[in-house]
Symmetry: C2
Subunit: 150 residues, 2 copies
DNA sequence: GTATCTGCAAATTTTTTGCCAGTAG
DNA sequence: CTACTGGCAAAAAATTTGCAGATAC
């Protein structure tokens, strides 16, 4: 484990303890990888990436670790109905843009003004809103050109 | 088939023809059910509901029909990473509210002002936005009370 | 008439689980 | 110590697919 991983590990340790769970090397490795990438990897991609660092880890453990991280609020599970779920290690408010051509997910900064949210809440009568997710769909810079020409 | 289904069938027929696909009783039954409910049924739920009307239909055909409808723009596939995908037959702009307790999905009227969208598009540089999806999370009226007391 | 569609069952893909040994606290 | 975890392999759940007969147009 490199020096600069220590703060990341501390964050994880505290989140785990707050949820009555134990700190383990496997969970740390999964979390370090998630926190270090701006991609939105599948469980299998996490597995492959982590295995090169921590040789002994199983795919089942990756699934269990990811679920634990989601439960502790350190990761988000994203599903799009096209195969595997993806995981996002960013916990600050942000949105996603999904390319309809290459299926990659990109982070988008910015958030909805609270007035917009209030207005939406009114539309959802009798519903107690605790959060929201916004996803843009379209074409990324790599695919956009192809799509326009086609 | 009842009299008031005819317009629904015509909509389906035109959408299918526009996509070079054939009109079949199975697809019509699936579409009629989807268009008639404000629930957001899983493929299996569609299968069970449709089977009571059209006795001979298989689950595989329901999956294929749903995929066809999505391809024709007559339905939307919703996934939340908790088991099966759900399907939504509403095609007008609207949002969803998902209850974190009972996992039901509710329709929410209203849409984002275009100025908000433009602002978000700026945040997604080099991304050609063609649409968006907004999902509120929280607790529905049935679960809200329980959750507050718990 | 012919390309497309359906039903069936088997296959695939993704994710979860049971169980025993290992480890954190 | 003792309960929580990880690894493994098997199971479960969801969805897709190959193929032969049926059907829309």
């Amino acid at each position: 484990m490199s020096q600069q991983d220590q703060p990341t590990d501390e964050v994880l340790r505290e989140a785990l303890e707050a949820n009555g769970q134990r700190f383990t090397e496997q969970r740390a490795a999964v979390y370090r990888f998630l926190a270090s990438t701006d991609k939105h990897p599948t469980a299998d991609e996490v597995f492959l990436a982590v295995r090169s660092e921590v040789p002994v880890i199983s795919l089942a453990t990756v699934y269990k670790s990811l679920e634990t991280l989601v439960g502790c609020g350190l990761a988000m599970k994203l599903t799009y109905g096209d195969g595997s779920a993806r995981y996002d290690g960013r916990t600050d408010p942000h949105h996603h843009a999904r390319c309809l051509s290459c299926t990659r997910i990109f982070d988008v900064s910015g958030r909805l003004p609270s007035e917009e949210l209030s207005e939406l809440e009114e539309g959802a009568k009798d519903f107690h809103v605790t959060g929201y997710r916004l996803e843009l769909t379209g074409y990324c810079s790599d695919c956009g050109r192809v799509s326009v020409e086609a």
